[in-house]
Subunit: 314 residues, 3 copies
């Protein structure tokens, strides 16, 4: 593995899931691998879970970690040929080139603006780091993907599944704000490679980008989709068409005990943070079927598996 | 010790003071204790001394440390049953549950609003972490207590006292802003367990909460209180009734050389930061009797003693 | 070496350059030197390169590092005798005294206001730390100097020079904002001790402070200055007289391919961040003669040489 920005960077995703599970069993078995190696985490948006789990993953492997929050302070130029006499103070070519000299791995979090689909789906910040960094780049979530989350999700499904090929439903749920499609996009492209029967359910108007949906069946009736499900993976996202909007939805798409009762004793999954009693009822998230904490816990081992794989090639 | 949020969590405070002094003599004698252990520090308010001393204490014990400043970025919900469709984005149940998976010890700083006494004295943030974290919680100052400061203060008194049972005076002093009562509350409850004769002095209108004052004698005449004192511990606080206000004070309560001359060659103590020539005169804080720097230095060993004790039980 | 705030703190600068080159060859040869030692980095202004390179330098030597960004949160008082009843919350005497107890080396970045020359050139923040800290102080850039940058620059020149005594030109270049003189001041005082022929070129009105220019020849015609040059070191600065202003400049002082063609195949140097096509053309900065990335890379070894030298005396 030369970088980790989507499932397409991983030659054998299932093997990576197994690696994460092995690290969960023995998180400190490789504390020498990262000796004198440095991971720099760059956050263009603040982060809690991703920062803590990735920092700890790097430390568990014996790496140095340096974390940079650049929310406001660092105005990067991404366009080539610009006369930089306005707001931007440094070109990504220099920024990535400099940081590559201080790091063995560069991990980056960016975020969509949710105003211009073409611009967001070009994934400019992540692609610029991929192009100009001279060390492996790890996505800590980009404008359109969140592969570390999806890997952790797969690890969790692998741990909790009751049969070889469970039915997994990705269900839209309501939210007061317009959110990115990154988690859902990534979940689809990872699950399409997993030994599961994947179904996507959401209200009309919330169709995801076809390049991520692929052949995954879409069922617009949430209750129908839940039949026989063994995992309900829930996430809000804003519309792709018209981009970033929140079209009205007639029914209540919140995940409730009544809806969970339609499934085959399904587990409930969500990447967190989650709005209780909007996305999911207290009853569901606090039930023994709720996997939200194990999922977050597995973020650590997902990150550690990725960093380990990259360090072995550095 | 299972957590460290007040003196009531400590079965033998004097023993903890002795532990801190032992660590001061040999700060690097236990660098293996924290190997592969992680301390997460969460600051809901910015911090200088507390952050540096606690980070270093953890590192002296060989721990990983991850520090999170969440001043603005992280809107937590503390109430149960809320429909979270407004400002809060994550429930403390998930937040504490997630961080507990990345940490062996969770240390938290919060702060009072100074507008609603009942709310502040319920100490909501600290109590929520105590309830929902699954690892030991350390208070880095809460709305109503600052136990690491008080432990460092006791260590300092232990180092400098000239006889077995010195007279210690906690004296209010002026300040341009309305400040919390946390340091003073904690100092009272720790000193009430220490081998000292404790006296509290402040202007009328600045009575502290009776649950912290207990049997400690209150003398409203600062000069009378200072007679025979061997330690003058100074701190401003805003009124408890009416809560968070700053009632007018007739006399000047600043700690001056003239007032220190009334004592029994007392040492001057303050937790810092301190407003010079408002709280205390330059002459007093720069005199050989000033212990403000040793106090701050002892913050390190107080934190290290607490973390060591918790790590031994993890 | 007892501190590192200017070239005047270094008894043998050339020896320090050699030390940096030795560390570049073997960056991890001294990982025990900093065991149980702590470096605190205090940034009164945000930083990318300086923070990352200095943190990593300290870690390469086995030190603990704690980084404090105090841009807004920490209002320090520098004047003695002040009645601190207004905006400042802590006196530098306490602040430096406290941090000195948690650190073996204190590294500080400050910045000029560019409004009052006398005040900026008094270098108040750096001098206050030098006076009140009880551990060695390292400048991470002050109001008037940036010695770690200059040391890295010298290291780079040493690596790339083609003969014993190359001609080095420090050239002003345009910039949309008013910038400090710190990098240029420091470059002059370091190069004046280096085995180079140093020339300074800038438009009339941009004369640097005589105490830094010394005997260095000034040529107002940029093209004339470039003749035979082997290194073009470029930097914008605002005027010293009238202080912090940006007087109009008639010609275009941008570094272009045409101007580089006037030199003796000179290398291009800049400390970064740089405004492309304002300070320097894309063609120059992307040419094989551009040393901007090696310079930034050498920041690591410059910092490491300085910390190593200080740690050997701690």
């Amino acid at each position: 593995m030369k970088q980790f920005t989507s499932v397409h960077d991983v030659s054998d995703p299932f093997q990576l899931v197994q690696e994460a599970l092995a690290l969960k069993a023995q998180p400190h078995a490789h504390t020498d691998l990262g000796r004198n190696k440095t991971v720099i985490l760059v956050f263009f948006n603040p982060s809690l879970r991703t920062r803590l789990s990735t920092e700890l993953a790097a430390k568990n492997l014996g790496c140095n970690v340096m974390t940079l929050n650049v929310a406001d302070g660092w105005k990067l130029e991404f366009a080539d040929g610009t006369v930089m006499n306005a707001g931007t103070a440094e070109h990504i070519r220099e920024a990535a080139g400099v940081m590559s000299q201080y790091a063995d791995i560069l991990a980056v979090r960016s975020f969509p603006g949710l105003e211009d689909k073409e611009k967001d789906y070009a994934d400019q910040i992540m692609r610029a780091f991929m192009e100009h960094a001279t060390v492996p780049v790890v996505s800590l979530e980009s404008a359109i993907r969140h592969p570390l989350q999806s890997l952790a999700d797969w690890v969790t499904i692998e741990e909790y599944k009751r049969r070889k090929r469970p039915k997994v439903v990705l269900s839209w749920a309501p939210h007061p704000r317009a959110l990115p499609q990154a988690v859902s996009n990534s979940f689809l492209e990872w699950m399409q490679q997993a030994p599961v029967d994947l179904v996507l359910t959401h209200p009309k108007g919330y169709e995801l980008d076809p390049s991520f949906v692929g052949d995954t069946p879409v069922i617009y009736d949430q209750e129908e989709a839940f039949a026989d499900a063994e995992f309900i993976y829930t996430k809000n996202w804003s519309a792709v068409y018209p981009y970033g909007q929140k079209p009205e939805v007639e029914k209540d798409w919140q995940i409730t005990e009544a809806k969970m009762a339609l499934t085959n004793k399904a587990f409930f999954m969500h990447c967190l943070p989650v709005r209780r009693n909007v996305v999911v009822s207290d009853g569901v998230i606090e039930s023994p079927k709720s996997l939200v904490l194990p999922q977050a816990g597995n973020r650590l081992y997902a990150a550690q598996a990725v960093l380990k794989s990259l360090l072995e090639n550095v």
